[in-house]
């Protein structure tokens, strides 16, 4: 049957994505021009930032609407717009902290910025996908760009190795995700999330075992992207080997995008049979939090420590998914936003202290930083306390909202385990602070070269961390208006 009616083909809805794609291309072309010395290569960072700001303004301007376009495969609602804003913020901060780093490490190629923009496009597609095809394409666009970014220091063996590990395991996980999509499609006859939901509601639950297997495989595929235990094995190695700004980017962006898709798929498509998947995610959340926090205790490398800490944070976010209520969704949005500020801020400090050929990533390298560079040490302390969940920082408020969402859904045991985990995490976050202030410097700190862009990134992170911690109500209100409208 040929459907002759004209599809709703609304270009305006994907305008932010098109703008980013366009600016990505401009960056690539400008890079070619700069290799002939016609333009200065330093402007590439500014071009990308302009693209991100335009996309953010366009995203802002379409709030408050719920529009389906492209044959109901793409949705523009407050939920996707909030996430898009998060991704743009993450990409913007990453570019700010990358500019000096990639010049210093001799990897100053235009592709770097273009790939960050392209992977942001993938994330935005994931958050706005209203069918499984769109979410899958978004996931792949994001992942493939980040495989390349991980191996961007292509003359360094550690970067190659991280990239290969990420690529092989990522492609492996994609296979599972795809098989899950295929089984879901085969048993429900639809790839559109709303149609899947109405099919399951009609049948009165998941009667077909193939459908349950399909859902399980979707959990595997998405669990890999958000780095939940037992699909976390790649995280520490990849985070250690990747260039530091890329580590900052991928510890936040893909995780947020993974959760955007996770919530969208499981709360809309499988929302009516939540009792089936809540048990699985419940166990995953406990394992993820505990293993992340316990493994982080014994790390001596700060990038590996933050890798395990990011696994633990994925565990906290899984609690919000288990709660499966509106409060859980808005808590996820708030927490991801808070996590961007504190995590990228911490990586910014690591980049400031590192030098060419000397990454300065052992925790003992930070001894005496409090006396030599008090401002940097204060900022680092702030980020660490926020991640540990100490009031009045953003991390505390985020955790508070997530745990209340769990209690509201009756998961009191889970909330107690999460609080215990949070207490364990204080040890390794505070250890850095203690080393910074209470140990004699083991090494000389050379005079730091800190660029204006880096200062801007750190200031934005500090302000964001404090702002969300002291005055959370305004952002929380926006997050509450962004709960899923699709149901």
């Amino acid at each position: 049957m040929i459907n002759a009616s004209i599809m709703t083909f609304n270009i305006l809805n994907i305008l932010p994505i098109l703008v980013l794609a366009g600016f990505g291309m401009i960056v690539l072309v400008t890079d070619v021009l700069s290799s002939r010395k016609w333009v200065n290569r330093n402007i590439l960072a500014y071009i990308s930032l302009i693209g991100i700001i335009i996309a953010a303004v366009l995203t802002r301007s379409s709030t408050g609407t719920t529009l389906f376009s492209f044959n109901e495969s793409f949705v523009t609602d407050n939920y996707s717009l909030f996430f898009n804003f998060i991704f743009l913020l993450c990409a913007g901060l990453t570019i700010l902290i990358s500019h000096n780093y990639i010049k210093r490490e001799d990897i100053n190629y235009g592709e770097y910025y273009a790939l960050i923009l392209f992977s942001t496009i993938g994330m935005m597609l994931m958050a706005s996908g209203a069918d499984l095809l769109n979410i899958y394409i978004g996931l792949e666009v994001m992942s493939i760009s980040i495989y390349i970014l991980t191996g961007f220091k292509r003359s360094k063996l550690i970067s190659n190795e991280a990239s290969l590990k990420y690529f092989l395991l990522g492609a492996f996980a994609t296979g599972f995700l795809l098989y899950g999509i295929s089984l879901t499609y085969g048993t429900t006859g639809a790839i559109n999330l709303k149609q899947i939901a109405s099919f399951i509601a009609e049948k009165g639950g998941m009667s077909d075992p193939l459908m349950v297997i399909g859902m399980g495989l979707l959990i595997v595929g998405l669990g890999f992207k958000v780095a939940s235990v037992p699909f976390h094995a790649w995280v520490p190695d990849v985070y250690e080997g990747a260039p530091t700004p890329v580590t900052a980017f991928m510890s936040v962006g893909p995780k947020a995008a993974g959760f955007a898709a996770f919530l969208r798929i499981f709360l809309t498509a499988f929302g009516s049979s939540h009792l089936e998947w809540q048990k699985i995610i419940y166990i995953l959340a406990i394992l993820t939090m505990t293993l992340g926090n316990v493994s982080a205790l014994s790390q001596t490398n700060i990038k590996r420590m933050l890798a395990y800490s990011s696994i633990a944070h994925a565990g906290y976010l899984l609690i919000a998914l288990v709660s499966a209520n509106d409060m859980g969704v808005s808590a996820t949005l708030f927490y991801v936003l808070a996590y961007i500020f504190m995590n990228i801020g911490a990586f910014a400090i690591i980049i400031v202290l590192s030098r060419k050929g000397d990454e300065c990533i052992q925790i003992n390298d930070y001894a005496g930083l409090g006396f030599k560079h008090p401002l940097l040490a204060i900022a680092m302390t702030l980020f660490m306390l926020s991640m540990a969940g100490v009031p009045p920082m953003a991390g505390f408020v985020g955790k508070f909202y997530i745990f209340s969402a769990a209690i509201k859904s009756g998961y009191i045991g889970l909330a107690i385990i999460a609080v215990i985990n949070s207490v364990i995490s204080v040890y390794y976050y505070l250890r850095i602070t203690v080393i910074m202030y209470m140990k004699e410097p083991a090494r000389e700190f050379v005079p730091l070269t800190i660029s204006p862009l880096m200062v801007a990134a750190i200031v934005i992170s500090v302000v964001g961390t404090l702002q969300l911690g002291i005055f959370p109500s305004k952002v929380m209100e926006i997050a509450q208006r962004s709960i899923l409208m699709m149901r």
């Binding site: 290969l164 092989l168 296979g175 085969g186 250690e240």
Partner: protein, 100 residues
């Protein structure tokens, strides 16, 4: 008479072969080929479902999967080449400079 079950069983067998290959082979390129086998097993199930359900979406999905797999192959082989230039091996047992 070949039914949907036959196709699904075949696709499940191919998928499992791919998974086993990824887990036991040690050459990065062979592992990557096994991943491709997994993706193609899924494609088979998509086409079978599309025929059985009489809907086009499954076939549409296969085109996108193939495109993505091609992009992934380009990136993956480039990563393997970059690694081979520095290390002169593609055996994943030798990828051990980062350890806990």
């Amino acid at each position: 008479m070949i039914t949907i079950t036959h196709y699904l069983v075949l696709s499940a067998i191919l998928f499992t072969l791919g998974v086993i290959g990824v887990l036991i082979r040690r050459n990065a390129i062979v592992i990557f080929m096994c991943v491709e086998l997994m993706l193609n097993a899924v494609n088979l199930s998509f086409v079978a479902f599309a025929h059985y359900l009489n809907s086009m979406q499954g076939q549409l999905f296969v085109f996108f999967t193939m495109t993505v797999a091609a992009a992934e192959a380009a990136v993956g082989l480039a990563i393997i080449v970059a690694l081979f230039r520095n290390k002169e091996t593609v055996n994943i047992d030798d990828m051990n400079i980062m350890k806990w």
